[in-house]
Symmetry: C2
Subunit: 202 residues, 2 copies
């Protein structure tokens, strides 16, 4: 039983979030349970509910953390890469992250925000941060004439890669006999960038 002297409010929040992330990573969204999180931190269910209001908000905060982790993962991988290689790193990094953190990644897309409940600011912010990393790289590669379309094009390219990644982890590609999903996605991205006059080699 947790005493209030053990952890301050913020401390308790991140304690729940840390263990919540762990439960999500182990069990996946379908088997995620606030009760299990409570058990692990040695507090009762009521406390978890009191801190986050409801399970959906807890899941969304976990997802926000996943987005941050993901952004950092991509930035790290970009490291010293240059030119076309940076784009490939982004695509491959997208796939690698999803595969390495399968359950965390899936939870982002398996969770539906209930009607009438608004998305927490943190989730929107972290999502935009990830998009920002990619948008920056896309803008670098595009010619000046395409600058106005860069944001929209970035969204479209992310959607393209996302679709391939979702089909890989969801088993659709396995069913269709597709061997190297990441290469396919990369090919589509390069194609589009070329079509827009991007300054990268073939």
């Amino acid at each position: 039983m947790g005493r209030r002297s053990d952890h301050g409010r913020e401390e308790l929040e991140s304690l729940i979030l840390d263990n919540g992330r762990q439960v999500m990573a182990e069990s996946g969204y379908a088997r995620f349970s606030a009760r299990e999180v409570a058990k692990r931190i040695g507090y009762s269910v009521g406390t978890v509910m009191h801190v986050f209001g409801n399970v959906d908000r807890l899941v969304m905060e976990i997802n926000a953390r996943t987005f941050r982790l993901w952004s950092e993962w991509l930035e790290e991988r970009l490291g010293g890469a240059e030119g076309r290689a940076r784009i490939i790193v982004l695509v491959q990094g997208y796939f690698d992250f999803a595969q390495t953190h399968r359950n965390l990644w899936s939870a982002i897309y398996e969770h539906r925000v209930p009607e009438g409940m608004e998305m927490p600011e943190t989730l929107a912010a972290e999502r935009m941060r990830l998009t920002g990393v990619i948008a920056r790289e896309v803008a670098t590669v595009l010619p000046a004439t395409e600058a106005a379309n860069a944001a929209e094009l970035t969204s479209s390219l992310i959607a393209t890669v996302h679709g391939h990644c979702a089909f890989m982890l969801g088993g659709t590609f396995a069913l269709l006999g597709v061997a190297r999903p990441a290469d396919l996605a990369a090919a589509r991205v390069i194609e589009t960038l070329h079509a827009r006059g991007a300054l990268i080699d073939a």
Copy 2:
């Protein structure tokens, strides 16, 4: 209380499937319930479980039906369209179906087949049927030199459109300020087909 004289085994199966589809359409995967289906058909939960073994199999059978509905939806829409228009119809039809049958469409991708449980034959078959419709149209448009890659390219194009559609219904595009997701997806598809030397006008 259902008497066995009321419905034969097959009759009962499709009764469950019909009402199951309805519950799924109304409530979505997250709130789908075998008990609710049982209530609607006037049988007990045990009967539903007896016919389908477990809820996952029932969901997969419902999803198989959704795939069939989807294939027919696309074939109808292809109607008298010709050339490039057929490709646009496929892309737009993908989006329209998903939007019109939001919960049924989402259920396909929200449901994860539990480990150790194999996919029923019907689901795999209906999924391939849908892919077949699209593969046929892609093959028609591609030059003979690309025939060998047609199947893989088809899978990639479906993934591309799927990614855009998922982002639309999941709210990602709204967050990013993307206005016309279907047009974006269509642009990507046309780009790729052009890059492969497809015989369609710009």
